[in-house]
Amino acid sequence: MQYALLVYTRPGMDDGLSEAELQELTKEYYAIREVPGCLGGGHLQPVETATTVRVHDGQTLTTDGPFADTKEVFGGYYLFDADNLDQMLEVAARIPAARLGGSVEVRALVEEPS
């Protein structure tokens, strides 16, 4: 089965961390990609740099943001191939955001018709 691990971070989570600590965190995030079964992942630029698109009656509406006024923001993801949910729950618990006030959502992907 394929799984997405969706990483949500808490705005300001990294505030007050030293350069060395930040580097250590980055290393941890990259280490997850080395876990067997990892198909890839991505770290998103801050949510403030996002652009949101909606189409109403054929008109494209583009807005700046959203801005980080919510408790948790989507910050990145990993894609995995795994036997079952248990394996993913263990990996998810190792992702730094999970212990730093953020969370990791584990979702299986819908199987593509072969």
């Binding site: 089965m1 799984y3 248990d86």
Partner: protein
């Protein structure tokens, strides 16, 4: 008789089918079919010598049929070939060789990725063999709500990939604790009055004990439940609660108490000093005569250190009152007051201790606080009686 056999065999049959077919819904359909065939056949010809083996064999045939039909749909042209191959295989079915996968099923049903109420309902349904309507009645929800709850849980198991397996070694302690918690939750639902649920919880724990004979906490939980259950008849006088000290001991089920003590010995032989084994040991001492309060106090202390629970500390205070007097106990209770202020039993315990110290005014006030927090008529009447006695 049918009803009882079905309830006892359902978990075994369903577990095998989930393992065999790898799909909860398909397994359920095949199991229902096997039980329907049994109902019809046994009605006509009488039950077989070994109903369990008969049901397993029939369920397996029904599952193979299903697989075949699915395959037939997928590749119609090879229909005959497949059919023959499968029928050959069916000739040498030995039902006793069919693996018992109830443990796998239990761990699936009690997976932490499911909400607790879903774990409870699913365990009763899948392993316990209760019907949806029975579970709904026990939890005071409509059958439709319970059906939705079960369906949602089964869908999640399938789509989220919750495994049908016994967890790996490093996950086992936490996951076994979850299974035990679900069984104890079922028991406590039953202990509050719905007796059949308590019996179901004990039945589930017995199954678990045969499947995991080296786990001391399983024996601990089973012993604990048996000790509570043994006193069921004595806990009420009509509609009124009777505290342990005032219970009519001739109403206790001595068989259950003896069984529980054997289980505690087994847990201790496995060096089990987990929370359930300790609670069982305490409950066992509480039904002895005379009661060894210093020993109970010691076990509660061990339990406090293990769980860090203020409620357990409150229980220790009750033991301290007996072994060292109400003054020492009151000191513990006062220390707990801020943390357990909203807890009825803190105030009723405090009231009881104050009464014994002759501080009736304060005792009255504390009983009042407890009354304000009490659930259920029996509890309320009990507190009112105590208050009136002052």
């Amino acid at each position: 008789m049918l009803e009882r056999v079905f309830r006892e065999q359902w978990g075994r049959v369903l577990a095998f089918l989930v393992g065999f077919l790898g799909d909860f819904d398909l397994a359920e359909e095949a199991a229902q079919e096997a039980f329907a065939i049994a109902a019809e056949r046994w009605e006509r010809d009488g039950p077989p010598d070994n109903p369990g083996a008969w049901l397993l064999a029939t369920a397996r045939n029904s599952a193979i049929d299903r697989l075949r039909r699915a395959r037939v749909l997928a590749e119609k042209t090879r229909q005959l070939e497949v059919k023959e191959a499968v029928e050959d295989e069916m000739d040498d079915i030995d039902a006793t060789a069919i693996p018992d996968e109830r443990l796998e099923l239990l761990f699936t049903c009690c997976h932490p990725a499911l909400a607790t109420e879903a774990q409870v309902a699913l365990t009763l349904y899948a392993v316990g063999g209760l019907r949806t309507e029975e579970i709904a009645r026990s939890f005071l929800v409509s059958p439709e709500t319970m059906k939705r709850r079960l369906t949602r849980a089964k869908t999640k198991i399938k789509l989220a990939g919750i495994p049908f397996s016994v967890p790996e070694e490093h996950l086992l302690p936490a996951r076994l604790a979850a299974v035990l918690a679900v069984i104890y939750l079922i028991f406590n639902e039953g202990y509050g009055g719905r007796a059949e649920l308590a019996a179901d919880a004990i039945r589930l724990a017995r199954v678990l004990a045969t499947l995991m004979p080296d786990e001391s906490e399983v024996y601990g939980l089973l012993a604990l439940m048996l000790l509570h259950e043994a006193r069921r008849e004595a806990r009420f006088d009509g509609e009124d609660l009777v505290v342990l000290a005032d219970q009519d001991r001739s109403l206790w089920d001595l068989g259950q108490i003896t069984q529980a003590r054997e289980l505690i010995d087994r847990a201790l032989a496995l060096r089990g000093r987990g929370p359930y084994a300790l609670q069982a040991a305490i409950a066992s001492l509480q039904v002895a005569d005379p009661i060894d309060w210093p020993q109970i106090e010691e076990l509660y202390l061990e339990l406090v250190q293990l769980t860090g629970s203020p409620v357990v500390e409150l229980n220790r205070a009750v033991a301290v009152a007996e072994s060292r007097g109400p003054e020492a106990a009151l000191a513990i209770v006062e220390r707990l007051d801020p943390e357990l202020d909203g807890y009825q039993y803190l105030h009723s315990t405090r009231a009881e201790l104050l009464r014994r110290l002759g501080r009736n005014g304060e005792a009255r006030e504390a009983y009042g606080r407890a009354l304000g927090l009490a659930h259920g008529d029996a509890e309320r009447r009990f507190l009112e009686r105590r208050l009136a006695e002052l």
